[in-house]
């Protein structure tokens, strides 16, 4: 079958890194991504199923790999060559529509879950991500889309463990379902603010949560805050007009340009601006950008003993952490999803919340354009330039893709 595949080629990674800042299209052409004929992946063991891709989104983490910017941290956690694509809606062989929870958790890799009913992302030991239990033939990989053995969504077919597959309700369209995975990421980040927002509510205050960045993940976080963080006053820094409109529609109370966010937070929280920081600030800030500047700004606008949730995937960053030390700020990451405890102390999974959110917010409005797989250069360029081109999420549509003609390869 024809698929997009990343191969570990140092020269192409270097070339992609060099040109990515100038041209997303050139990075896609020159970088480590190749559109080539590959064999469909074999089923790695019991409980695994074959999935036929319908829609597969392009994520910021995918772009960082294509552009050669991914952190070297991941080198030992992934296996080459791999087919990217972890935001996927597709069908099983029996025609069941499913959405993928891409994390390769304990069950998928043949290990006992860390606790009864654990979601793939749960646990406090990641050894299983690079190993495999008995009866499983699985290379390292944190997710489908970064693992040689499983394939990924940027191909007509891939394999996934039943623990990773969620049936898509009939009321949820493919166009909504392809947003479920990023929505889950945003909701997970939103729920990571609950510790401090509930503390504020207990003290009689209405919690203020700032969100820096309003691409797909920022918007997903806003949706999550709006639905699952009670009484949150959401203030958002968004660069582009369409992002501001969507942020407001999804529940943000105040939406401003990123450079104006510090002042906007102060207007809600009161307090002083002292140098480049607020004396008080947001109870929590979700950084959906993940750069040195955005993390620094997030720290500056979060009140002492507040929490900064880093949702945007950072790589090498340079930070002055004096303020973090002085303000006793919590800086936490928000990688994926798992089992969540809500404000009313009930538990559920992030994906369950994301599926209901996708339908409730009409997530299809975040899907701006779809491309055929063989038009990947333009697709990746569009995704890299999404903000300034008025777009949010770009995806591959394989429902009518020529790659599908190779279905017989199964």
């Amino acid at each position: 079958m024809k698929a997009l595949q990343i191969r570990r080629k140092v020269a192409r990674l270097g070339a992609a890194r060099m040109v990515a800042g100038v041209s997303g299209a050139a990075a896609a052409r020159l970088g480590p991504l190749e559109y080539r004929t590959i064999d469909p992946p074999a089923l790695p063991g019991p409980g695994w199923q074959r999935v036929t891709t319908a829609l597969a989104g392009i994520c910021g983490s995918d772009l960082s790999v294509v552009h050669g910017h991914a952190s070297t941290y991941f080198e030992d956690w992934v296996s080459f060559p791999f087919v990217p694509g972890h935001e996927v809606v597709g069908t099983l062989d029996d025609g069941t529509r499913v959405v993928l929870e891409p994390v390769l958790g304990h069950c998928a890799r043949g290990f006992a879950p860390p606790f009864e009913g654990a979601a793939p992302g749960d646990g406090d030991d990641y050894a299983h991500l690079v190993t495999a239990g008995r009866e499983m033939e699985l290379e390292p990989g944190i997710q489908i889309g970064f693992c040689e053995s499983t394939g990924g969504g940027w191909s007509p077919q891939f394999v996934a463990h039943e623990s990773q597959l969620h049936r898509v309700p009939d009321a949820v369209s493919d166009e909504q379902a392809v947003l479920i995975e990023p929505l889950a990421g945003g909701i997970h980040a939103a729920l990571k603010t609950l510790t401090v927002t509930e503390r504020a509510r207990a003290a009689g205050a209405q919690p203020i949560v700032a969100v820096l960045g309003a691409g797909t993940m920022g918007l997903a976080a806003i949706a999550g805050l709006s639905r699952y963080v009670p009484d949150a006053r959401i203030v958002v820094g968004a660069r582009y007009g369409h992002q501001r409109r969507l942020a407001a529609e999804l529940g943000a109370e105040v939406v401003v340009a990123p450079d104006d966010l510090l002042r906007a937070v102060r207007r809600l929280s009161g307090g002083h601006m002292i140098g480049g920081s607020l004396s008080s600030g947001a109870h929590a800030t979700i950084d959906a950008v993940g750069t040195s500047a955005s993390i620094s700004a997030s720290l500056a606008m979060t009140r002492p003993r507040g929490r900064v949730v880093v949702l945007g995937m950072p790589a090498d960053v340079s930070l002055d952490l004096t303020g973090l030390w002085h303000r006793e700020t919590e800086l936490v990451g928000a990688y994926t999803y798992g089992t969540e405890t809500l404000a009313d102390h009930t538990t559920t999974t992030t994906f369950a919340l994301a599926i209901e959110t996708a339908a409730a917010i009409g997530a299809e409005r975040l899907l701006s354009a779809t491309y055929r797989l063989d038009d990947h250069v333009q697709a990746l360029r569009h995704a890299a330039e999404a903000g300034r081109r008025g777009a949010v999420k770009i995806a591959f549509d394989l429902r009518r893709d020529p790659g599908q003609t190779t279905k017989g390869d199964r």
Partner: protein, 528 residues
Amino acid sequence: MPRPGFVLDVDRSTPPTLFWHGERFRLEQLPADRSRIVYPPEPLPAIEHLDHAIRDALLNPIGSDPLPARLFAGMKLTIAFDDASLSLPKMRRPDTRQRMVEAVLDMAAAAGVDDVHIIAALGLHRRMHDYELRHVLGDRVFDAFAPRGLLYQHDAEDPDGLMVIGTTDHGEVVEINRRAAESDLIVYLNVNQSPMDGGWKSITTGLASYRCLSFHHNPETLQHTRSLVDRHRSALHKSVWRMGEVLRRDGPPIFQVETSLNTDTFPSSFAFLSKREWEWSARDRAKYLATAASLERTPTRLARRIFHSIEAPYRTTSVQAGDTEAVHEITLEHVYRQQVVEVEGQTDILTMGIPFISPYNPESIMNPILVMCMGLGYLFNMYRNKPLVREGGVVIMTHPTYREFHPVHHPSYIDFFDEVLADTTDPAEMSTRWETKYAEDEWYRHLYRTSNAYHGVHPFYAWYWGAHGQQHCGRVIIVGGDAPTVRRLGFTPASSMNDAFEIASDVVGASPTITHLHVPAMLVADVT
């Protein structure tokens, strides 16, 4: 003999007209046969021996004993003076206030008065920088008083530094600077550049608390002010005069010293700005072309610095002292004599070039709110009887209207632009929904009291200043402004004057009559 103000009917031979455009200029050809230009009177002759005139006014006051007779050893004497919002541009040294304060101090010393405080009556304006205080009062006074804490700036938010004098029969609380209130005599030193200033407004604004100011600086009052330069038809001045009655009855003794300035606004290098265009000499034209071309190549920040460094050759045309009201009436006569221009009837459109400066940005940036304040507040209000533009007519201003703010001087203006104007441009609505939050914001309060920031509420007052103009006009157009910023103000952007006339035609038809206000210098249009 200086010529009086003049209204020029534009015909085909009229050369292009100079418009201010922030830190730049524009030349615009106004439509012939239906446009007119109002030029201010030429500068009146100045008092030749100003120090002598000041001394004479102090010794021969109106409705008061001579100043020396009101000074005595052991008394508390407070000298208050107008802040850096006057004059515009700042006048050459020595400033008239320096001459006045030195004369008063001489008499106080002669009377054995040793408890003297000098207070900058800045109201809710920003604190003056030391170099501004030196400019206004002179080095000798500054060095003698400032280091000992005897020269300082009014603080409208000092809970221990304010005192209620009483309440008017309209329920307006008169609360002023405690030191002034407890003095045996306040000597107020005024520089009068506009009929809206001076009189009771000096103390009830310059030395007042926010609470006191809020009774007359509000949308209701300013929407019923017809106009700011006609105190008998100004709801603001009526409130201020009611407060004056309370001061007269229950407040400290006051000795008011007022001066009027002529309109000699620009030094010789910018003399063409004060001339009528058809009278420009070859030298003036060359200077204009060189200046305009040079400014086009100059970064705005540098151009701003150049303009703010201008020192006006203003001269004083009168000095009078004594009873506040009696003194002020004479001051008004002098100001009107200098500034009044007879104008017949209203037109459909009023055009005005907005300069680099307003009373609220000395040494600072003319931010978008101040553009509105200058256009619809100060310039629109430069009339008596009725506005230059008919009700429902169009005001066209020229200004780059950049979204730029001085972060030290105007911190609350930034938030006002981002938050309040995004919500409403209606003065009454913003007053109800937002004013208290800004007025009581601790950070703004801190910056006002300890830094050089305007009070948190000040952008509201700047906006209210234009409330009457905003209510009167059918549309406001800004030529050459940053379009999103202009729209945030509630106005319509236009890229050229012709585009502006085209846009205005929706409101006033295809062949509207037009008045252009040729400012600065200051003028008062007496519209019959």
